[in-house]
C-alpha cells in the first residue's frame, strides 16, 4: 500500500475542522519549525527533500526559496497559487476542500521559513465555495493561536488572507497572478526581474502551488531525508494525480513517485482501466499543455522500458516520444475519441485564455483554433497540417509567458503522433463527420 503524506486523513470525518485536524497531528510542523528550527534550517530541509514545484513546472522548491532576496526593511511575501485551471487538473481543489487546514499549516510553516509576515492564497474565482472553506479554517487557526501576533510565544507574526480570482487561466502564471492580486488585468510580466526579487507590490515574493506548500508539512515533520527516500531519482515524495477521461475510476490519487504508468492506469487501486471494455487510444499525462502520447508510448518508452509516473520517465524520449508529468492532470482517451477534435478543443481553450499581450500567442492560438475547426468539420486541406506545425513552432518560445508554449505543444504533439488521423480528416471529409478514426498504428522500428 502506497504511503500517503497529504491525503492520509482525507476521509476522516470532520477533518476539515480544526479540532479533528489537530487531533490527527495537525500543526505539529508549525510547532517544530517555530520552536526548534531557524528559518534557514526549514529551507534546508525542503532542499534536502528534493521537493519540486507541483503546479506543473517541477522546479526545485528549496532552490526557489533560496533565491528570495532579503533586503533590510522590505516586506517579503509568500503567495499560494490556488488558481488551479490547467485542463485535467483538480487535485488542489480536492486538497483544499477536504483538508483546508493542511494548506493553512503549510502556509504558516513556509511563511516562517521565508520570513514573510503577510501571506496570501490566491484561489480561482470559480472555486468560490472553497474560498469560504479556507476562510473558516483560517479563522479557526487564528482562534487557536497559530496565526496573528507572537505565534506560540516565539515573537513570530503572520497574517494569512485569501484573495479570489475572476476567471482567467492565465492567472495561474505566477507574474500574472501577482498582477491580479494587485487588482489588475492578469497580464504576465516580463522577467527578469523575477518575483523572488520584485514580486507582489515590487517586494521579494515566492509563489508556490497548493500541493507544494502542503508537502512542506510532512517534510518538516519527518525531515527532508525521510521525504527524499520516497520515489526515484529526482522525483521524490508523493504526488497528487487528477485522473479523468474514459476510465473506470476518475478521481484524485496520491501516488509515490515510482508507480508504473501501467499500474496507475489499469489497477483497481487507481484508474481501474478503460471504461466499457474499450481500448486505450492516447493519454495526456500532465494536464492539457503537455504532449499527448499515443497508446503504444503510454506504458512503455520508445526504448521499450517500463514507463513510470515520475518527472524523468514521463519525459523519456524528449518531445519526440515522451511527455511531461506537469501538473499531474492525467487524461485518458479511449478508441472512440477523435484526436483532431480534442486538439481543436484544446486550441479553443488556449485561444480563449490568451491574455493578448504577445502577438504570436494572441494571433497564433486563434489561427490554430480556426484551422483545426475547419479540419474537424471536413473542410481541411492537406497543407493545413504543416501550416499548424508551422504556426505552433512560431508561437513556441516567442512569448512573455509559457502560455504560448502550452498552446503550441499539444498541437505539435498531436500531429507528430497522429498525422495519419489528420490526413484521414482531409481525405475523408464526409466520413470524418460521421465516425472516428480509431487507433493509430505503432510505427515499425528497426533495431
Amino acid at each position: 500500500m502506497a504511503r500517503k503524506l497529504l491525503l492520509e486523513h482525507a476521509h476522516v470525518e470532520g477533518i476539515n475542522t480544526y479540532d479533528v485536524y489537530r487531533k490527527h497531528g495537525g500543526y505539529r510542523s508549525v510547532e517544530k519549525a517555530l520552536k526548534t528550527m531557524t528559518p534557514d534550517e526549514v529551507v534546508e530541509e525542503v532542499k534536502k527533500s528534493g521537493l519540486r514545484g507541483r503546479g506543473g513546472a517541477g522546479f526545485p522548491t528549496g532552490m526557489k526559496w533560496s533565491f528570495l532576496a532579503k533586503p533590510e526593511g522590505v516586506p517579503r511575501y509568500l503567495v499560494c497559487n490556488a488558481d488551479e485551471s490547467e485542463p485535467g487538473t483538480f487535485k488542489d481543489r480536492y486538497l483544499m476542500e477536504k483538508i483546508p487546514h493542511l494548506l493553512v499549516e503549510g502556509m504558516i510553516t513556509s511563511s516562517y521559513a521565508l520570513g514573510a509576515n503577510t501571506s496570501y492564497i490566491y484561489i480561482r474565482g470559480e472555486y468560490s465555495w472553497i474560498l469560504f472553506v479556507l476562510e473558516k479554517a483560517i479563522a479557526e487557526a487564528y482562534n487557536a493561536g497559530w496565526l496573528g501576533k507572537n505565534i506560540l510565544g516565539t515573537g513570530y507574526n503572520l497574517d494569512l488572507y485569501v484573495n479570489i480570482g475572476g476567471g482567467a487561466y492565465i492567472c495561474g502564471e505566477e507574474t500574472a497572478l501577482l498582477e491580479s492580486l494587485e487588482g489588475k488585468r492578469g497580464n504576465p510580466r516580463i522577467k527578469p526581474p523575477f518575483p523572488a526579487v520584485k514580486g507582489l507590490w515590487a517586494s521579494p515574493t515566492v509563489v508556490n502551488n497548493v500541493e507544494t506548500i502542503a508537502a512542506v508539512v510532512p517534510i518538516v515533520n519527518d525531515g527532508g531525508d525521510e521525504y527524499a527516500k520516497i520515489g526515484i531519482g529526482k522525483s521524490t515524495g508523493t504526488k497528487l494525480i487528477s485522473a479523468s477521461g474514459n476510465i473506470n475510476k476518475p478521481g484524485v490519487y496520491e501516488i509515490e513517485l515510482n508507480v508504473p504508468v501501467e499500474e496507475f492506469l489499469y489497477s483497481d487501486e487507481y484508474c481501474g482501466g478503460i471504461k466499457n471494455g474499450k481500448k486505450l487510444k492516447a493519454c495526456v499525462p500532465g494536464g492539457s499543455s503537455v504532449p499527448i502520447l499515443p497508446h503504444y508510448l503510454v506504458c512503455k518508452t520508445a526504448a521499450g522500458e517500463q514507463r513510470l509516473m515520475t518527472y524523468e520517465s514521463l519525459a523519456d524520449g524528449g518531445f519526440a516520444t515522451g511527455s511531461m508529468l506537469g501538473s499531474g492532470g492525467f487524461i485518458v482517451y479511449d478508441e472512440d475519441q477523435c484526436i483532431v477534435r480534442n486538439t481543436w478543443n484544446f486550441s479553443r481553450f488556449y485561444a480563449h485564455e490568451s491574455c493578448g499581450q504577445c502577438s504570436p500567442c494572441r494571433e497564433g492560438t486563434s489561427w490554430m483554433e480556426k484551422v483545426l475547426h475547419r479540419m474537424e468539420h471536413g473542410q481541411g486541406k492537406m497543407s493545413d497540417i504543416d501550416l499548424l506545425s508551422d504556426v505552433a513552432k512560431k508561437i513556441e518560445g516567442n512569448t512573455i509567458c509559457p502560455l504560448g508554449d502550452a498552446a503550441a505543444w499539444p498541437v505539435s504533439a498531436a500531429i507528430r503522433h497522429f498525422r495519419e488521423e489528420f490526413e484521414w480528416h482531409v481525405n475523408e471529409p464526409k466520413l470524418c463527420m460521421e465516425r472516428n478514426y480509431g487507433l493509430v498504428k505503432e510505427p515499425v522500428t528497426t533495431v
Binding site: 487538473t89 483538480f90 475572476g166 494587485e182 487588482g183 477521461g245
Partner: protein, 180 residues
Amino acid sequence: MHAVVENGTPFKYSDAARTEVLGLLKKYPEGKGKSAILRALHIAQEENSGWLSVAAMDHVAEVLSITPIEVYEVASFYSMFNLAPVGKYVLEFCQTGPCAIEGAERIITYTKQKLGIGKNETTPDGLFTIKQVECLGACGYAPMMQVGEFYHEHLNEAKIDQFIEDCRSGKINKGTWKMH
C-alpha cells in the same frame, strides 16, 4: 474580452455589502486597496442581478477610491463577470477536453434544445442563461456545469430535467456570495 457598453439602473451596495467591501481593505498594505477589486466586483455582481452595469462598476470604483477605468479594464478581462444582463440562473457548462470526451457536447445541446436558447442567450421568462466556459476543475466528475456558487457534476439528461424543474418551482438555491 467584452466591451463595456451597458448602462443599467443606478447601483449602490447594500449596507452589509459596503461594510464587507471596506473590510477587505485591511488585508492589504496602506494604499493597496485596489487588490480588493475582484471580490468587490463579485459582490457587486451578486447585488446587481448577476451582471455588472457601468453604474455598478462606477460605484465599485468610488468605494475603492480608484478610477472607473481601472474597474472597467479589470471587469472586462475576467470571464466570470457578465457585462450584460443575464437570467436568474446562469448555467455555465464546461466545454473543455476532459468534459468534452465524457459527453459535455451532448448535454449542452440537450439543454439548449430544452430551453430553446443558444449560447449566451436568456429565456424570455428571464430564468435561464446558458454560458459555455472553459475548464472548471471538475474533470473527474464530468460532464458538469456551475450555477452560482455550486458545481453540478456527473450530469445527464435526467439531472438536467430535474434541475430545470426545481429552478422553475423555486426549489433551487442558486448559491450566492451573501450567504456566509
